[in-house]
């Protein structure tokens, strides 16, 4: 472990904004993608269920 304290970790030797700006946006994009895929899937299932019930 090379960081002496948490504040040093977040500061990243002065580059904190850039490093965490990168990591943060990456994580956010992936999270959005996953969320979007899940909600699309559930939406479609709900739609199919509705149509199915409509037939009955």
């Amino acid at each position: 472990m090379m960081w002496e304290s948490w504040s040093q970790f977040w500061d990243m030797g002065g580059y904190g904004l850039y490093v965490w700006g990168s990591m943060g946006v990456t994580a956010a994009c992936m999270a959005i993608e996953v969320w979007q895929a899940r909600s699309a899937h559930h939406q479609h299932l709900a739609q199919l269920r509705e149509e199915h019930e409509g037939h009955l």
Partner: protein, 250 residues
């Protein structure tokens, strides 16, 4: 099931079989991606030392480089499925290509975004027209073009085939585009420094990058398989097996 027989592969070319296979595979990929991601990030942020020239700022490469690689790998995968689809006229190929595109575009975007954030503290500007970043930008445009074309065409099958053709044409052009951008860049001798020129990398750094790359790869596989299952349900909604699934959960 002997996987050296064509029948093995052809079986999974059918949407129903693929739906099942994808459903079984994606959770494992996701789990593995998470493990590799944690490991890679730990190596990258907790173990790897600061860089002699770039200090702590270089750590962006742990996402920048994997994102760039993925944006290219995914495009090649799209081209592969497109060739398959146009040759064998399988329905699944178009669905896979469409499922790959958004993630590829996202990684291209991330490559550009992280590239800019890396460039600003190192070279002083948010953007440098070096060969790799510029090619990445054009690759991003190629992704957007594919997504725009397939979204605009209402007929799904026509959209699949049109998308397949543009994906293949784009893939063939990528090396030509890269070469011409490289030429353009050396000609104008703008930034003589390149974002790709990283000093000799410590073993740990390389390992961190590789682990993150594999994490992104598995993430992509998991997400794309998940996504394609939604598309399969959508397109095959009239079939008995989909109706059975819907009934089950109703």
């Amino acid at each position: 099931m002997n996987m050296f027989r064509a029948s093995f592969w052809l079986h999974y070319a059918g949407p129903q079989a693929f739906y099942g296979l994808a459903g079984r595979v994606w959770p494992w990929c996701a789990a593995l991606a998470a493990v590799l991601g944690v490991w890679g990030l730990w190596l990258g942020f907790m173990v790897a030392p600061a860089d002699a020239q770039q200090g702590e700022g270089y750590r962006i490469i742990f996402v920048h480089v994997p994102a760039s690689w993925m944006s290219m790998v995914i495009y090649m995968a799209m081209a592969f499925w497109s060739v398959l689809g146009l040759t064998f006229n399988t329905r699944l190929s178009g669905m896979m290509t469409r499922a790959l595109a958004p993630t590829g575009a996202m990684f291209a975007f991330l490559s550009l975004w992280t590239g800019a954030l890396w460039g600003k503290p190192m070279w002083g500007t948010w953007w440098v027209w070096d060969a790799r970043l510029t090619s990445e930008l054009i690759l991003f445009f190629l992704y957007l073009g594919y997504i725009a074309l397939t979204s605009a065409i209402d007929d799904q099958r026509r959209g699949d085939r049109a998308g397949a053709l543009i994906a293949i044409v784009g893939a063939i052009n990528v090396p030509i585009i890269y070469f011409s951008v490289k030429w353009w860049n050396t000609l104008h001798q703008g930034a003589s420094v390149s974002l790709t020129k990283s000093p000799t990398m410590a073993q740990v750094m390389l390992w961190g990058m590789l682990l993150m790359a594999m994490c992104f790869w598995l993430y992509t596989i998991a997400l794309v398989l998940y996504r394609v299952r939604t598309t399969i349900l959508q397109r095959e909604s009239h079939t008995a097996w989909v109706q059975a699934i819907v009934q089950e959960i109703a």
